[in-house]
């Protein structure tokens, strides 16, 4: 009688025992982070100049043409090349805008026989994109935007031709603006 009870108990326990669990355990941890598009532009430096000098002021600089005209008041050739380091980690908008040429700041009543603006050829290169314009009095924007990351130098070439004029006396100025925005 006792032996029979013992056997029955063993069978019940065996049936109640769950299937053996897998001995190995695992879990995971996922780590992720984003890098937003950012752009950085460093101050320009001159890579070449003829009849002109460049002075950096930290954020931009000044191109001073040594002699805009010769003894006959006709323009002399001058040229300046600038390098502007830029890094953008993604798509970005980059534009170079000129006001439209070197304009005389002193000629209140310009003479029809004399010019009051010295036009120049502006060429901008960024990556594989090159844009250029010859100024003609109106503001012009060169678009060098790119849809991907880019690092390198934006190159600007400003070239004034010889033999234009005669030029009215006075101070001639223009301003070239470089605008960079991450997109």
């Amino acid at each position: 009688m006792t032996a029979h009870i013992g056997i029955a108990l063993a069978l019940i326990l065996a049936l109640a025992t769950p299937a053996a669990a897998a001995p190995t355990a695992s879990t995971l941890l996922q780590v992720s982070g984003d890098v937003p598009v950012r752009c950085k532009m460093s101050p320009p430096s001159a890579s070449g100049a003829a009849n002109a000098t460049f002075t950096s002021n930290g954020t931009g600089g000044d191109i001073a043409i040594t002699a805009l005209v010769g003894s006959d008041a006709m323009t002399l050739a001058s040229q300046a090349s600038l390098q502007i380091p830029i890094v953008c980690s993604g798509s970005h908008a980059l534009t170079v805008t000129t006001r439209g040429g070197l304009a005389n700041q002193n000629a209140a009543t310009p003479s029809p026989d004399f010019a009051v603006r010295a036009d120049y050829l502006l060429t901008a290169r960024w990556g594989a994109v090159t844009q250029s314009v010859t100024t003609s009095g109106s503001a012009v924007t060169l678009d060098l935007s790119q849809g991907s990351a880019q690092a390198g130098d934006l190159s600007l070439d400003i070239s004034l031709p010889a033999g234009k004029g005669p030029m009215t006396s006075g101070t001639y100025t223009d301003e070239i603006t470089i605008q960079l925005n991450a997109q």
Partner: protein
């Protein structure tokens, strides 16, 4: 947490004399032997992030940790730290393996490169368990799995501690290289099993 399985292997009953002796007046005795065994097994819970001691950590959701901003204004990698605790136990000698699926935080899609930019961020994970310590180095030297293993010759219950760290300016193409924009990720797997 752990439910040890016990299986009765045998119950043996021995009676001092035959059943026919029940009616006799001499003392009777019976011996019952009971034996059982416990399987070797290990358990691990989901990771818990210690939110009190983090650097540059954004949202934490379940087992997913979002780095707040992987790069700074100069496009360099930012220092990042957090600690994950994984509760677990092994009731026998065992082996703990911590692995990185990609061998670093890599930008998606995999393999995208651009000249002058980094697309991978190295990190290290310091693993502590059962008095042992090891460092998983996901150096982002090439995309692929890397792993670190700890062998422990005794049962251990507690928490696996994983200290995650990214160095300032660390990238796959050299210190200080700008990171290309995008989403970077990796999966760290923790596996524990008896030896």
């Amino acid at each position: 947490m752990n439910r040890a399985s016990a299986r009765v292997l045998a119950i043996a009953v021995a009676i001092g004399s035959g059943g026919a002796a029940c009616a006799q007046s001499v003392p009777q005795s019976a011996t019952i032997a009971v034996t059982a065994s416990v399987d070797r097994k290990c358990t691990l819970a989901n990771p818990q992030i210690d939110l009190g001691q983090t650097t540059n950590i954004g949202q934490v959701s379940g087992s997913t940790v979002r780095i707040a901003d992987l790069s700074d204004d100069q496009m360099s990698t930012k220092v990042t730290d957090f600690t994950a605790e994984v509760a677990g136990m092994c009731n026998a000698s065992h082996q703990l393996t911590v692995s990185s699926d990609r061998g670093g935080l890599w930008r998606d899609p995999a393999g995208l490169r651009s000249n002058g930019f980094a697309n991978g961020v190295p990190y290290r994970a310091t693993i502590s368990w059962g008095g042992e310590q090891a460092i998983l180095r996901a150096n982002a030297s090439g995309e692929g799995q890397v792993q670190q293993t700890l062998s422990v010759d005794q049962p251990v219950g507690g928490s696996v501690q994983i200290q995650f760290h990214i160095d300032q300016s660390a990238t796959n193409v050299g210190v200080g290289a700008p990171l290309i924009a995008g989403t970077y990720d990796d999966t760290i797997r923790v596996t524990m099993g008896p030896l």
